[in-house]
Symmetry: C2
């Protein structure tokens, strides 16, 4: 059975992606508006599992780059991702057959839908990370030696760049510099790969997981059950904190939304404090100084009672939230994975401590396959 | 008769270009080393006048972008310009037949020689400005609606970008952002144009003028005549100041060497002070507060007695210099020209005041044709 993403699925998909987005990937609502229009005008997008993918399929990641904080004020038209895709195809002299969602995160779960709907292409039921990460080289394909370049980058004015680089870190650096110059927001197409490569290097079933997460939250709300518990159950995650935001320090630095938030506990966590560090995504959580979760594991901030995912730019004084930890794809916990996206890759001077180590969800296996 | 640029011509060419470079375009010595090796290994480069150029010739500008201050420490290998040229050809799907010198300035008079020698192509006896300017859109072709893009940009590591932009100002902005990220120095190929376009949009005979200026300085020195006077005579210029540098304030900002120098007069200018503003090039000269020269006219700083051109990064306390003003190509003095490269285009809040207005060199015509 082939699954379709139509207008009816977009809300669940965006909601689930916002959960996995761990605060990053931009505001889901904005991306959903773009995707809704595209699906409304061009019809639903079919979802192809990695197993179904032909070895010689031509897959490409279409995404937005920049600071989510800026995205809220500098709204894209929806044409930019298509122009990026076309520039990528020209650079490779290949025609893309399948659209890949690079990261499960708010706007970046929707932008590929926009591109797929408008080009009439299927999407792969997978993503490049299994969550959201702030930098371009922090993708599973990097661990498999797959290059992001040639990468195409466009803006709303009609400027386009094609980058060929020596490694994915340089792709990130140059694309980021361009993004900042373009106004901290750009559309990119990159990581062109074959179906065989995609099967190996992508994180399987992420879009289905997003749909299921969104559905779980929606149904729990409707049934007056705890939607936060539904998220935790679906992810095999763990409740890390429940409290109220007491301080937020947020800056836009080099195209990133960086900062930290402090939270004061309630209930079980009364008289304790959580400090949350973020760089586009929620990256490190310390409870009374003790490290309770860090990248590459998922730190998910949800509004109390509604389980509405809270992005880093939505954190504000007084907001009552629950913080959930969940295991990342096990490959991110490998030495190679941690070198690319472990705490030290983000400038934090501590080792990775798995959230809920030894639990039933160790290695993230429980929410895959 | 076809003129050749061999090893014997390089010193004069570099010297003359350094004069027209008005302090910018990078240190001529470094560029000369690269050109000397290329010409030594690959043979001399022939010089083709604009009149001789076939209408369907394919001309391209090869240059370095970045802060000259940085270039002194981050020396290019000489391969980068060729890689930029090849990327430009791939982007246009054209084969370049003639190399253009984008600006008459130290390193950027030599980089095109490197590319021409290594590719076995002739150079056009012209340049894109008639002097040096710090930004990519400040080229005569901009006044004729010729686009810098597609532009190819490369670094010494092997990173390459191809930009397609909405106008030459955006080409500058994006290429500059990339250049800064690459370490404030990159090689670019751009402004691909036909022979017919080149004839209209380039400044004719600039390379011959450079050779003649270099020769004039060399011969004056050998004959114990005043080489500064020889420069002034050849350019139809005017002596603006003679003095000693008393203060220099120089910063590298956004990939540019920016700042100002103060000079205390001697002889005729005793008890007067000259303030020189620069942004890669010497841009504005005020004598005791009075504006005596400004862009787009040429402000040339020469070492006293030797007439060795002084770049903005060579200005230092105690240096004894003579400052010469000369008229730019008359098209820069038009309304359209001043909009692109007049004082206000550089952020100075004053009108253009022609140097030596009414003199025999008005409009720069005296040193053309």
């Amino acid at each position: 059975m082939r699954r379709l993403i139509g207008e009816g699925e977009l809300a669940d998909l965006a909601q689930g992606a916002a959960v996995l987005g761990t605060g990053g990937g931009g505001p889901p609502y904005l991306g959903m508006l773009l995707a809704r229009r595209a699906v409304h005008e061009c019809g639903p997008v079919s979802l192809v599992s990695l197993d179904e993918l032909a070895d010689d399929a031509c897959c490409a990641d279409v995404a937005m780059m920049g600071a989510p904080t800026v995205l809220l004020e500098k709204v894209p038209s929806g044409e930019e991702p298509l122009r990026a895709l076309e520039a990528l195809e020209r650079a490779h002299r290949r025609t893309v057959t399948h659209i890949v969602c690079g990261e499960a995160g708010g706007v970046n779960s929707m932008v590929p839908v926009v591109a797929a709907a408008r080009r009439g292409l299927p999407m792969v039921d997978a993503d490049g990370i299994g969550r959201a990460f702030p930098e371009l080289q922090m993708m599973m394909p990097t661990l498999y030696g797959i290059t992001a370049a040639p990468l195409a980058i466009t803006d709303e004015r009609g400027n386009t760049g094609v980058l060929r680089t020596v490694d994915n870190r340089w792709t990130e650096r140059i694309a980021r510099a361009i993004t900042v110059e373009l106004g901290c927001n750009a559309s990119i197409a990159s990581y062109l790969m074959t179906g065989a490569q995609a099967r190996q290097a992508l994180v399987p079933r992420t879009l289905t997981l997003c749909l299921e997460l969104g559905e779980a939250i929606r149904c729990a709300r409707a049934a007056h059950r705890d939607p936060v518990a539904a998220v935790i159950e679906r992810l095999g995650g763990r409740r890390l904190f429940h409290g109220r935001v007491t301080d937020v320090d947020r800056r836009t630095v080099f195209g990133f939304a960086r900062g930290h938030a402090l939270m004061r506990g309630v209930g079980e966590w009364a008289d304790t404090e959580l400090r949350l560090e973020f760089q586009n995504e929620h990256l490190v959580a310390r409870r009374d100084g003790e490290l309770v979760a860090s990248v590459p594991d998922l730190i998910i901030v949800l509004q109390e009672a509604t389980a509405e995912p809270v992005t880093t730019e939505e954190l504000r004084y007084g907001l009552r939230v629950e913080v959930v930890g969940a295991a990342c794809d096990p490959r991110w916990r490998s030495q190679a994975g941690l070198a690319v996206a472990g705490p030290r890759a983000f400038g934090y001077d501590h080792e990775f401590v798995p959230v809920a180590a030894g639990g039933p969800h160790l290695g993230g296996a429980s929410w895959r396959a």
